[in-house]
Symmetry: C2
Subunit: 199 residues, 2 copies
């Protein structure tokens, strides 16, 4: 059975190569540049091989997004645990979220903008997705003040997402990005708007 195992191992390795190639290509030139032909060329196999691993191009994007969830969760976790106190955790984690979206826009798109076939707000959602949301929830929770913490976290996440996507789409000028984020934080933490949040 060793031959079988080696084959499966090689197959899994190749699948990983495809996902990595798709992510790199997307991050370098955007998702519209990721075609099955270029992808196949990059992994040095023919097109149909891709379809023996994934149902279609969308499934490849989904796989890339799944990797991204784990990355984001890790970065959020690092930001939150590095915060000196709970009060500043939200500011830190928000900054980390925005930075992630800014640094890896194509990956962020696959995760949160593009149409992918994943169960999101459900128990069967990917573990990394839950992990990322939980990080946010832990930072938002202390400011709930009677409101449903889960819903408040969702609302805060939505606000961050809106800020990120509108800025990236050219709808909001990049100039005052930090001040908008600070305002958002002030609203959710119910602090005075002008009390700069030291990170």
């Amino acid at each position: 059975m060793s031959i079988q195992e080696r084959r499966e191992r090689e197959r899994a390795q190749r699948e990983k190569m495809i996902i990595t190639a798709a992510r790199e290509l997307a991050e370098a030139e955007g998702w519209e540049a990721v075609t099955t032909r270029r992808l196949a060329e990059r992994v040095e196999y023919s097109q149909p091989v891709l379809y023996s691993h994934f149902k279609g191009k969308d499934a490849i994007m989904t796989a890339v997004a799944l990797e991204g969830f784990a990355d984001l969760a890790a970065e959020l976790r690092a930001a939150r645990t590095a915060a000196p106190d709970a009060a500043r955790a939200l500011a830190r984690i928000s900054a980390a979220y925005v930075a992630f979206a800014e640094r890896r826009p194509a990956l962020y798109d696959a995760m949160f903008s593009q149409k992918v076939d994943l169960p999101f707000a459900a128990p069967e959602a990917p573990a990394a997705l839950h992990a990322g949301f939980d990080e946010l929830a832990q930072a938002v929770g202390p400011h709930a003040d009677g409101a449903d913490p889960g819903l408040l976290t969702e609302a805060f996440w939505a606000a961050l997402h809106g800020l990120v996507t509108l800025t990236r789409g050219g709808r909001l000028p990049r100039g005052q990005h930090d001040r908008r984020l600070a305002l958002l934080l002030a609203c959710f933490t119910r602090e005075p708007a002008d009390s700069g949040h030291p990170l």
Copy 2:
């Protein structure tokens, strides 16, 4: 010169037909179903005619988006002026914004999600865009409480946009949509989270 004028009139009419057809097709089946061939068939002209009016498909989407800005601005204005007092204006206008996005998702996408070539946060931005933003600003302004009203409006808009897009993309369950919106409003108006906002 009357012949010339008639021609230009007919040409403008046809251009409007193209835009309308594109919008209707997008609203009925989504933007991925809007192909130049189907569009041409719908306006009963051949494909190349489209290119004598617009530089490309993107330009058609931009034209559709421009129409949408006017529609949205009108609906926001109606919602704001119908509000019994300034305190409730924000809730009304928010509901109108969300309803617009929900009712005309394809149009909303063209306006705020898809990549279009328009100057947004600039003086030369389309008038309808300014008008819509001003409606929002007028409703947000009273709650600024010392903060920059323009930036606060942008932040609030971003939050609404995030809520809308995450819900539409399946990232947030539709179930508690209203409660999330209410939470958002409570944060921005700095009211207690559980004081339901009567519309």
